[in-house]
């Protein structure tokens, strides 16, 4: 197993369910900077980029999806810090995942499911909590007392082996994100994500579309368009969104408000 060969450039992309009403997000960042205090921080350029901190509390699935939608757009060397951690303080593992381009830090609860599936090569390490955590520490705020110091160690280019040991990827926790259900003449889709605009993002990706098809929502056919604006005011439309997944949308409106979680099907077009 080879070690990382890139030099971290100091971009820390942070996502969590901490919300922005409390002090948690700021304290984690403060703690990372504090860990670098002794060291000449002036020559290390650290940039915190918040992906989001409004993941619904303890919704690990949503965290995993948001990371999937995000990480490929970040520069080489980015360290992703992901904290959606209902098991904080229990025996759940603390993970470090390394690919040739990126590092990922967070709990072992499925948050990194897509990274582990999509990235090859991809190495997993179990963080040795005793080698990182300092007394006094909190069993309820590992973001501050465990994961922040790990990020600092990575920024300082400490050898991973000094605070973590390799673990087989098969032993990690994965979440199940099933493919669309095959039905007689097409697929029944699941809604993976509802965004801020009320667009319903499904699990149907462009690549699955091997022959002409129609999109049906609650048993009514909807048009497949290529931009949100193509719809008529109030029309329910479908389109492939920015991650290549089929979305249900309404022009200048919220599909979620109108439809909630509707039944969505792909039906193969019938020749005449």
């Amino acid at each position: 197993m080879s070690l990382l060969v890139f030099e971290p450039r100091g971009v820390v992309a942070f996502f969590s369910d901490f919300g922005v009403r409390d002090h948690y997000v700021g304290v984690v960042k403060g703690r990372i900077l504090k860990e670098l205090e002794e060291w000449d921080g002036h020559s290390l350029e650290i940039k915190f980029i918040d992906i989001t901190h409004e993941i619904p509390p303890q919704d690990v699935r949503k965290g995993a999806l948001l990371l999937k939608f995000s990480y490929k757009y970040f520069p080489k060397g980015t360290i992703f810090l992901g904290i959606v951690d209902p098991g904080v303080g229990t025996e759940r593992r603390a993970l470090l995942i390394a690919t040739p381009k990126y590092l990922f830090v967070g709990p072992d609860n499925g948050l990194f499911t897509f990274v582990l599936r999509e990235q090859e090569p991809c190495y997993a390490y179990e963080i040795d909590v005793k080698k990182v955590i300092k007394f006094p520490y909190s069993s309820t705020f590992h973001g501050r007392d465990l994961f922040a110091p790990v990020v600092a160690k990575l920024l300082l280019r400490e050898k991973i082996e000094t605070f973590a040991k390799p673990i087989e990827k098969e032993k990690l926790v994965y979440l199940d994100f099933p493919y669309p259900l095959k039905i007689e003449e097409g697929f029944r889709l699941s809604i993976w994500y509802v965004d801020h605009f009320g667009n319903l993002i499904t699990n149907f990706s462009k690549e699955l579309a091997d022959k002409p098809f129609e999109v049906w929502v609650n048993n009514k056919r909807v048009r497949l368009v290529s931009t949100y604006a193509e719809g008529r005011e109030g029309e329910i439309v479908s389109l492939f969104g920015s991650e290549g997944l089929l979305e249900i949308a309404i022009k200048n409106g919220s599909a979620f408000e109108v439809l909630g979680y509707p039944e969505i099907e792909i039906r193969y077009s019938k020749g005449l």
Copy 2:
């Protein structure tokens, strides 16, 4: 038409209707940094300043006002990235606007109305999408696939002419922000903006007040004070706010919750 003469210092002021619940804001920033990846990013100091991402979805008017209230307070060389873009993916133009102090990037839908009116000289360019966008790209997320690369080009000091061409300002889209309506003995005001504190910000500016006047809300006279704290608990007051516009406020309360969108009039004081 002269070119820019300043060197961008790497401040990117970003405002949008993306919200902070999803990954969109983080991904745009990640993409800007990724575009600089090949290049020696360590010596370029980039600072992202979020103005807000909570503009109501597709509310271009509110975006234009927020930019008006903000841009003059940023340092020379700031690049403003504004994305409220209901027409994403359609034929609407992508704009770059340059003044001797600032650069502005975003869709041509009126978002830059005030900049275009207030800044002189002020040059407009239409971005040549084909010269910026890379395959594969999304027709629904131009923030990531079009505007982020443009910002990166500006940070790298690429010549604007290599990816955009001058366009006459008269051809651009403007929003109409009318002056207060002249009535017999004064003005009838419009509410331009309701802020987080519930203050009602009107379109009446200090400069229009050429003679003594009174402020009337729903046909009752209210006091004109100079600080929020001057009001009595629960009293409706008026004052000129931080942008010189008349506001209706309630001490330690929300004028919007109490009044909604009331009728507001300026009436000239009558001599005795």
Copy 3:
């Protein structure tokens, strides 16, 4: 009285009740950078860390608590800018507080109560508004027109004495955060803070627990656990949180939603 001996490293930790819907937070940051414009900003590494801007409007108590929960985790040299300022524009003092590790800037209304109590040595200065503010300025937005320039002066290492004068700490405004109420067989607690997860953070700290005790909520005993996950689904539990204060929590749920502000008591355990 000695002067500061550390060199500010350019971390500005910012908390306020400005919210993230408006432009206020971005404008304050822009103004700080603009003040440094004349100066060679490239060699000064400034990092803005937002603690939170979602303090409820004018809730100075909550601001004081959030600062207490946060500041110790930031690196030496951090400048804390705190703006929850219902008295903006009135005669309330503008403060600068200096400790050997940190600087604090904001209104004199109790926002810095805990810092003043917990830090020794700790010097207070009254900012001379006339020496900082430039015309035109707003009497409603001191974040932009008064406090931002003060932060810039600190970053530029201007001597504090040139724009502020020492003031006795006894003259400052303090908020009252009382200890738990002593009752016959224990303590009656107050709830200091409800966080985003719905955890109820009380005023009972570990150090007060001098003998074995039980936690009672609305006259029912609840278990004292050490992690959130130890509870059974839906069980009300108590635990010492990340700041050493007793919290009431519900596993995978919101204690606040279920309990609101319940009566919480510490009762000494009775021997058998």
